[in-house]
Symmetry: C2
Subunit: 171 residues, 2 copies
């Protein structure tokens, strides 16, 4: 089992966008440069986040991406589900029915115990991810990370963010 590498990129980008001034945007190309990624490919994941309602996109010059809601209300689970899809990692194929003796469907109304156990474990995983808020990630970074790294990140944000246009308030 392996999570898509896009998850890492998506979380880093979301954390960077959370550091922007209120209403400001940042182009996808800038985010790609910040993390050494292919701009075209990063766009794919940013689109997924936009489709999931986590980000907003502003087209045209001075456009870019920004968070669609406060970082306190964005969890890592939201991002992971947006990139990886909503389906659970364990998908029961009901192989218990594929034996040589075919029982009627009425013998399988009770859910598969193995599937239930796997889903319980995945529920714990999702609960832990839901508890990890993007705001906490950013706060921890600002307080705990190396000062040089924090300074470089802040300088990058200051350099590439596009201030909110006065005439178009953030919805």
């Amino acid at each position: 089992m392996k999570l898509s590498e896009g998850v890492e990129a998506a979380i880093h980008c979301a954390a960077t966008l959370a550091s922007l001034e209120d209403g400001a945007t940042m182009p996808g190309a800038a985010l790609a440069a910040q993390f050494g990624l292919s701009p075209s490919y990063l766009l794919k994941h940013l689109q997924a986040l936009t489709a999931a309602g986590i980000l907003e996109s502003v087209p045209g010059p001075a456009g870019g991406y920004r968070l669609a809601r406060p970082a306190e209300r964005i969890s890592l689970l939201d991002i992971v589900l947006a990139v990886e899809g909503p389906l659970p990692a364990f998908r029961c194929n009901e192989i218990r029915r594929n034996g040589p003796v075919r029982l009627p469907d009425s013998a399988y109304v009770k859910p598969c115990g193995i599937n239930a156990a796997m889903l319980r474990a995945e529920k714990a995983w999702r609960a832990a991810l839901a508890a990890e808020k993007l705001s906490a990630i950013v706060a921890d970074f600002l307080s705990d990370a190396d000062p040089r790294s924090v300074a470089a990140a802040c300088a990058f944000v200051e350099r590439h963010q596009r201030p909110q246009k006065p005439g178009s308030p953030k919805q």
Copy 2:
């Protein structure tokens, strides 16, 4: 993210082997027939379980597989790790270092907060999997599942298990 389909097969096979009489074995071909799987392919996963020390294999006629230790001491985590590998699902590629400004390595001695958060969530998942013992899975099946399904499973075990050979005690 998607778990390998072999995980489902491996758990079902392990649960079936847990229902065998003490020391008895069952060939991989019988397990494959029980779940409608390709024998050659199922062997691949059973070999992984054997390499992980969860199963034991007995070669030759009247051979097959059996649990290497009591079902109470086998968790779903053991099986998942044996099939999927021990690496965590989220693998940090340290893209935080790939920016245009290259800071010295000393600026990154603190672990990445995003990686830490993802690993915390995965730790919760693994803890939940470790709590799901194979013995409990089998017990729940015998008590809760449809009687017809239980009867069919027991009949299958009775039909295909190979009793322990008197002269070669289980190690």
